[in-house]
Symmetry: none
Subunit: 270 residues, 2 copies
DNA sequence: CGGCCTGTGAAAATCCTGTGAACGCAGGCA
DNA sequence: TGCCTGCGTTCACAGGATTTTCACAGGCCG
């Protein structure tokens, strides 16, 4: 979700000689850098919106492996590169299996370190949408990334930031069933904890606001045991597959088979 | 989804010692391997559906850089790993900038090479999300991973998640007889307890839904004492082997001799 | 013919989602 | 500073949907 092209890198190392040189080159290349010589809690890494993390686990002592493990599993989209001194094959293999993307041995040329960091972050960026700022239309909805807001006609749905990002993601993947974990990963930016219900709660809030402003459309469909799918449908076509003769292509977008296994919301309470 | 997907790796190298050892380990790990000691045209690589390519550009001589460049740009989803002898920082940087994902220096431990290849493909798989989303067609069926659902024409079979995953697995292994244990392992994700009948029950549910939506085809075949096989067959060819003159290659996939020991289902009750 | 193995229907157990509400946090404001 | 408000997170519960388990019947094989 980072529209920016620049690489955001954090370095956890206390080898001042190496870090200094690397920092100079990185800044020359236009990278945004964050240095520390101590462990940064994975939680805080989330807030930094990094593309990559370069770390020498030596200075984390015993906790090194555990730290790498946590970072790798909490931030699967982060490029994780270890740069450290002598190591055994077994150590490198362990690290790589844990989720480390590249393991560089010191002493190393900063240029190579940078090239490897680039290689690690490269693909993630590829195919990144330039659609970031293009509005999306769906049913009666108009989703406007430039305003972080969705509109029905001229009136805004009054979405909070998270609500908007969730809606935007769903709308961009219109028609696809997205699993909760995927949604969480892409909206929140890190891995979903087991049992977290945040996605459900935000879906409910979205549905309330959608229902309030565009009551004659159904936008978000639940897929039991999987996740959610965004697909604007005019209301009143419930179970069209049971009476195929009665309904004649009202508005259903082309190549959109009638959804099933969908919990058609019934909006009980007002 | 499927947790363990097999890695398809091609090796372009003529260092027989290294390659032999690597191949042994890779096969032990269940990887699918393809070796050559000459350059493979990028065009052919496409057809091989590889996850990763390990190459020693040394044996490509002058063309090495050009080759890496073409492979990297033509196959952006392929993990590209160079494994070669001595090299300068400049060479490594050049390669990495070109699109190489990792650059390993020989001599290297095959275990590390494998771990690095894994790391590269892991990162790659995360990047492109729709790798697993290719629809499968079978008989009148259309199996759509993006919807977690199967369709006959426009109407969905209304499969639950487990049902869908079972069907998807069977369909991907079309024509193969899969043992219950295998099925359970791959759909449920862990070993089947002795005496568990879940697979049978889900096969029944699937058959019911298939029969309901596509009554003129037989999809799932029972192999007594073994397991099940998915193979769409138009109805009415029951016992075609008994009256070979009557039936003429309606739709039966090639190279599928009528299996003996097959229980042709007869759908007793309605 | 007897011992498995599979098909089947239904009950029981489990899991999943919708929902309302409480909680904590941070920023705005007096 | 202290209060108020908006927002995101977490919890617990209820109603369903789904999965598992069971018992039995019928088929397959030697």
């Amino acid at each position: 979700m980072n529209p920016q092209q620049t690489t955001r890198l954090a370095v956890i190392d206390n080898d001042s000689g190496f870090v200094t040189v690397l920092a100079k080159r990185a800044e020359a290349a236009g990278w945004q850098l964050h240095q520390t010589s101590g462990g940064v809690p994975p939680r805080d890494l989330v807030a930094m919106k990094l593309n990559a993390l370069l770390v020498d686990p030596t200075l984390l002592g015993e906790e090194g492996w555990d730290y790498l493990d946590r970072v790798a599993s909490l931030l699967p989209d982060l490029g994780l590169v270890v740069c450290t001194g002598r190591s055994t094959v077994a150590q490198r293999v362990r690290g790589l299996r844990l989720g480390v993307d590249d393991w560089i041995t010191k002493p190393c040329h900063p240029e190579e370190a940078m090239a490897r960091i680039e290689a690690v972050t490269r693909r993630r960026r590829r195919g990144n949408r330039e659609s970031e700022a293009t509005p999306v239309a769906a049913g009666e909805l108009q989703i406007r990334p430039d305003r972080f807001q969705a509109f029905v006609g001229d009136v805004a749905l009054d979405l909070t930031r998270r609500e908007f990002e969730l809606l935007h993601l769903l709308a961009e993947e219109r028609g696809q069933v997205l699993e909760r974990e995927t949604i969480y990963q892409r909206v929140w930016g890190y891995a979903m904890a087991h049992g977290d219900r945040s996605v459900d709660v935000f879906i409910r809030k979205l549905r309330q606001k959608l229902e309030k402003h565009s009551p004659s459309w159904a936008y978000i469909h639940t897929h039991f045991g999987i996740g959610y799918r965004f697909d604007p449908e005019p209301a009143g076509i419930v179970k069209e597959e049971l009476r195929p003769a009665a309904v004649e292509e009202i508005q259903t977008p082309p190549a959109e088979p009638a959804p099933s296994q969908v919990v058609h919301k019934s909006f009980t309470a007002g």
